[in-house]
Amino acid sequence: MSRLVVDVSNLRVMARTDDGDEVPIVKDVSFSVQAGEVLALIGESGSGKTTIALALLGYVRRGCRIAGGRISVGGKELVSADPRELLALRGRRVAYVAQSASASFNPARTIMDQVIEGACVHGLTDREAARKKAMALFRSLALPMPETIGMRYPHQVSGGQLQRLMAAMALMTDPEVVVFDEPTTALDVTTQIEVLRAFKQAIKERQISAVYVSHDLAVVAQMADRVVVLRNGEMQEQDEISRIIGQPENPYTRCLMQAAEARVRLTDADARQTMDSEPVLRVEGLTAGYGKPDASGVPALRILDDVNLVVRKGATMGVIGESGSGKSTLAYVIAGLLAPAKGKISFHGKPLGGTLQQRDKDLYRRIQLVFQNADTVLNPSNTIGDILARPLRVFARCQPRDVPRRVAELLDMVKLPAAMARRRPAELSGGQKQRINLARALAADPELIICDEVTSALDTVVGAAILDLLVELRRELNMSYVFISHDISTVRSICDEITVLLQGRKVDACLRSELSVQPRAPYTNLLIDSVPELRLGWLEEACRRIDERAR
């Protein structure tokens, strides 16, 4: 009855390593997609999901090769196809929507030129007909001004719009299957929901068969009919989405679901304990930015505008905002990397100097900033032991002969073996590097740790472990945190109080428990409503709620 559009059996892909050995990165993966069906490939980084997605276009990355198995798309066998056949197939019968639309569009040409290029190159239509078709696609992807948006250049539209325009480009040739490769991962949540909504609508309207690659189970639950769970290039489980969500069988799937759950890690006792403790950090009327200040002392590019917040001893203040909200700038100002233009910051009741020069060594020690990107934050030419020993020596945290023992203790605190001290950052995984990053801050015995998006670059399971660690350290060491994130579910899971930033202004602030108590600021509600939940039908429900609120 229903037709198979994609059939992959026993696919094996090998990759060449630095030493010239070949290792399998995709092992015996088989799945199929029926006409009008959306199949999701889900897994963490290194699971081979993108490799499989690219193989559906008959393409493998440099250094990789398809070592075995069959891939057929619309009855056409890809593994044995010659380059010319593949060329005729790509962008016509199989289309690809990449993760970063802004990196995929040519900034020097108009959007319309690029959207219709594929159809024209394949000689399917003339330019005029292609233009009309593109406009129809823009309309069905809910893009604003579908008649004229094509005349703009890529930098003149927003990231979410660009992602939809890229989907339009993919759909121009009416492909038999569309490969979506993490299409919303780089977007803010409030933008993501718009894009997901447009994609879903288009998929339904046009009966598109698709392969949807993602690491986010909650997103997949909205988009896909069936799911393939991957880990280290091996298939773990494959079934209908409702069954996988309802009763996952595979232990790894269960682990993924647990990590995705918005689990609150703080108990009421934790909250009570910190409720009345003394304030550690107080920020009042803070205005900061970059560029030349004008006559009234306000910088040319104002990033933060009149922000207030108080962090109590042993408590965690969550700062949430989307890209461009000024949340990282806030971290820099507190850490002394950027001088505030106006406003006061006080630490334990004493005013805090705006620049590093105005602070002393003891303040450097007491306030520690943990950066987001663990790859650029550890010096690649030092060993882990050296990296952790340096703050111990600089801040004289222990006797010189005790340094190795203390390093081992720190490693133990972040749950890494002591033998790791001899390794270099390049030999560590992303999660391990982030732990070292945290351990270095702990080495200084700080009183306040500012965490700037510390889990954002990590896989869900690894990120969840870091969050557990933060909570544990808080209980053990009575540590205060400023926890900066774009993700309201992580903020909700470990913070006592929450501050919401929008374009550099504080639009809302509340205790964690009050987050769902109305009335809240409209933007807070939008943020909460936009976070995907791991259940079927969430997308429709959320869209309805957002529309109602907008009215």
């Binding site: 990397l337 590093l356 450097y364 650029t376 934050v377 550890l378 010096n379 600089v394 390049a426």
Partner: protein, 287 residues
């Protein structure tokens, strides 16, 4: 199998890790360095010994590469001349690279006005025509080994500075440097421990290229008669003094030129393979 001591074993492994062009380059470079060190001991004759054979004699069993315009053994003169060609260039390239790297490091770490002043001064050097600068230097101070080394180093320092500066500015913006600043580390620590170790590799490759340029420059000066003065002779002077042999079809002028060519090509091959190997590694590290 008998295990070699550490240094030769490391060298052998390094040799094996290179592509064919790199291996050829390495062998040529090592050979020339060996000759520069021990050339005068290996030489069959004295540098100044005039042979019984006639001037511009052809290669023979006694004079492997023939004789020069005074009838001296050319093979000997090339072996001994290697010391001047390679030694001078090595000293000048080291001076240029080290000065350039240190200045760039300081300029980046101190920043602000200091960076501006140093960079503009280096720019001023960069636009000075190198030949005219060399002529001036030699006209004022006369041609001696220190003047030659200094002239070449000053001419090639701005290039090294520019490359090191670009590297250092990039590294200075890395978050681990920011962490060090927030720890209140001294400028000295940031420059020597956080930035310098991560720019050593590209600067070594740059050093190799700079060495080749300086060889060519010094040979050029010698060819003009401004370089190493008789009775000593580097390869450039050998080309110059035997120029008249060109009309007699003598190989005496070609041989030193060939020595210059093999050294520069060999070094280039080696460096090219090193940088491309490096490039592959960096790419894989990022993905």
């Amino acid at each position: 199998m008998k295990r070699l001591p550490y240094a030769p074993r490391a060298l052998w492994r390094f040799f094996l890790s290179l592509p064919l062009s790199g291996r050829i380059g390495l062998v040529i470079s090592l050979l020339w360095i060996f000759i520069a060190l021990f050339g005068s001991m290996l030489a069959p004759y004295g540098m100044e010994d005039v042979s019984n054979a006639s001037a511009f004699g052809p290669p023979s069993s006694a004079y492997w590469l023939g004789t020069d315009y005074l009838g001296r053994d050319l093979f000997t003169r090339i072996l001994v001349g290697a010391r001047y060609s390679i030694g001078l260039a090595l000293a000048a390239a080291l001076l240029a690279s080290i000065c350039g790297t240190l200045l760039a490091l300081l300029a980046t770490v101190i920043g602000h006005w200091f960076d501006e002043i140093v960079s503009r001064l280096v720019d001023a050097l960069l636009i000075t025509p190198s030949k005219i600068f060399a002529l001036l230097m030699i006209a004022i101070y006369g041609s001696s080994l220190p003047v030659l080394i200094l002239t070449a180093a000053v001419t090639y320092m701005p290039g090294a500075y520019r490359i090191a500066h670009a590297q250092a500015v990039g590294l200075n913006a890395m978050e681990y440097v920011m962490v060090a600043r927030m720890r209140g580390e001294s400028i000295w620590h940031i420059a020597s421990r956080e930035i310098l170790p991560n720019m050593i590799h590209p600067m070594m490759a740059d050093f190799g290229l700079r060495f080749v340029y300086i060889i060519l420059m010094l040979s050029g000066l010698s060819f003009l008669g401004l370089g190493v003065q008789p009775p000593y002779a580097d390869w450039g002077s050998l080309v110059r003094e035997n120029l008249s042999g060109l009309f007699d079809g003598s190989p005496a002028v070609v041989m030193p030129a060939l020595a210059i060519a093999t050294l520069t090509i060999g070094t280039n091959l080696l460096i090219d393979s090193l940088t491309s190997r490096k490039r592959i590694k960096i790419k894989e590290g990022q993905s």
